[in-house]
C-alpha cells in the first residue's frame, strides 16, 4: 500500500491532486480545515472511483494539530509515501495597506504550515528511507504582481525551503520538489474581480487559465518513480505568463 497525504484537499488544486493520486493507486488522506461537506465529497469521489482514503480535519498552520494528524495517519496506515503541501491562502494587499494580521495569516499557513507538515512527515519517511514531498508554490514567487508582496514572499520562501530540504533529506531517499502554477481556475481565482481577471488573461500567452487537473498531472508525475532523479526543483506551469 502507498499512502499520500494532501493538505487542503477539500477544494481546488488539492482536491484534484487527491483524486489523481487515488487514481494512481495511493490511499489518500484528505486534509482540510473547515469545509466538511466539500471534503466529504472529495473522499466520496475517491471511493466512487474505486480508491480508498480517509478525511482528516486539521489546521495545518498549528503544529500541535499537525503532530496529531501525522501520528493518526501513521497509526491507520503504517506509512506515508507522499506529502503534498498544498493548503494555502492568498490575501492581496498593497504594501501601504498591508496589516500585520494578513502577514501573520499568510506566513502561518503558506510557510510555517509547510514546514510543520514536512517536519512531521519527514520523521516517518526517514524511517522508511523513501518518500516524496511536493510543495505547492506559485508563479507569483517568480513573477511580480503589484499587491501580492506578501503572497509572493510566502511562495518565494516555499521555493527556498524546497531546495534546502531537498539537500537535507536527499541522502535519506526523500525527494522534495515544488510546483508553481500560474492562474488556475479555482475559488481562489473566482475571488478576483472580473476586470482584473480579464487583464490577467490578456497577459497569458496561452490565453486561458490552467485547470486544477493540469496541476495534478505534474504532482502525479513528481510523486512517481519516473521522476526518481529529480529533487529540489520548482516546476512552473503558467501558460507562459512568467516569460
Amino acid at each position: 500500500m502507498k499512502v499520500a497525504l494532501v493538505t487542503g484537499a477539500s477544494k481546488g488544486i488539492g482536491k484534484a491532486c487527491a483524486l489523481r493520486l487515488a487514481r494512481d493507486g495511493y490511499t489518500v488522506v484528505v486534509n482540510y480545515s473547515s469545509s466538511d461537506e466539500a471534503a466529504q465529497q472529495t473522499l466520496d469521489q475517491i471511493k466512487a472511483e474505486g480508491g480508498d482514503g480517509m478525511l482528516y480535519k486539521a489546521n495545518v498552520a498549528d503544529l500541535s494539530q499537525v503532530k496529531v494528524m501525522v501520528r493518526e495517519v501513521f497509526k491507520a496506515y503504517g506509512r506515508i509515501d507522499v506529502l503534498v503541501n498544498n493548503a494555502g491562502i492568498v490575501r492581496d494587499e498593497y504594501l501601504l495597506m498591508m496589516n500585520p494580521e494578513t502577514l501573520d495569516k499568510c506566513f502561518d499557513l503558506n510557510v510555517k504550515g509547510y514546514f510543520y507538515c514536512a517536519q512531521q512527515v519527514a520523521v516517518k519517511m526517514y524511517k522508511q528511507k523513501s518518500g516524496v514531498i511536493i510543495n505547492m508554490s506559485s508563479v507569483s514567487s517568480k513573477f511580480a504582481l503589484p499587491g501580492q508582496a506578501v503572497y509572493s514572499a510566502t511562495k518565494g520562501a516555499v521555493n527556498s525551503l524546497t531546495q534546502t530540504l531537498a539537500k537535507e533529506l536527499g541522502g535519506f531517499g526523500i525527494r522534495v520538489n515544488a510546483v508553481a502554477p500560474g492562474f488556475i481556475a479555482t475559488e481562489m481565482i473566482e475571488a478576483i474581480p472580473e476586470e482584473t481577471r480579464k487583464g490577467y488573461l490578456e497577459k497569458i500567452p496561452l490565453k486561458r487559465f490552467g485547470s486544477a487537473d493540469e496541476v495534478a498531472n505534474i504532482v502525479s508525475a513528481l510523486a512517481s518513480d519516473q521522476f526518481a532523479y529529480v529533487t529540489g526543483q520548482v516546476f512552473v506551469l503558467d501558460g507562459g505568463l512568467s516569460l
Binding site: 503544529l63 503532530k67 517536519q119 512531521q120 520523521v123 516517518k124 526517514y126 524511517k127 535519506f172
Partner: protein
C-alpha cells in the same frame, strides 16, 4: 517501560545503528562532544528511532535533551503516552 530498559534500548541503538563504541558510551557520556562525536545528521537518526520505538516525538526539542542517554531517556519518560 522502566527507565533502565529505555536507556539500555537507547544504548543498543547507538552501538548498532550509529557505530558508537559500547565501552566508551556510558549513560551520562556527552553524545555530541569530542568523545562520541555524533553530528546533526545523527540527531535525525535519534529522533526517528525514538519516534518509532517509544512513540515519542522529539522534533523541535531543545538540544539539551539530546546531550546524553540519560537526558534522552528522561525526555521519553516525561512525554510517553
Amino acid at each position: 517501560m522502566a527507565n533502565e530498559e529505555v536507556k539500555s534500548k537507547l544504548k543498543s541503538f547507538f552501538m548498532s545503528d550509529l557505530g558508537v563504541d559500547g565501552d566508551v558510551l556510558q549513560y551520562d557520556t556527552a553524545l555530541f562532544g569530542d568523545e562520541i562525536g555524533l553530528d546533526s545528521v545523527d540527531s535525525l537518526e535519534i529522533i526517528s528511532f525514538v519516534d518509532s520505538t517509544f512513540g515519542v516525538s522529539m522534533t523541535g526539542v531543545a538540544k539539551e535533551n539530546f546531550q546524553s542517554i540519560d537526558t534522552i531517556a528522561a525526555y521519553i519518560e516525561a512525554h510517553k503516552a
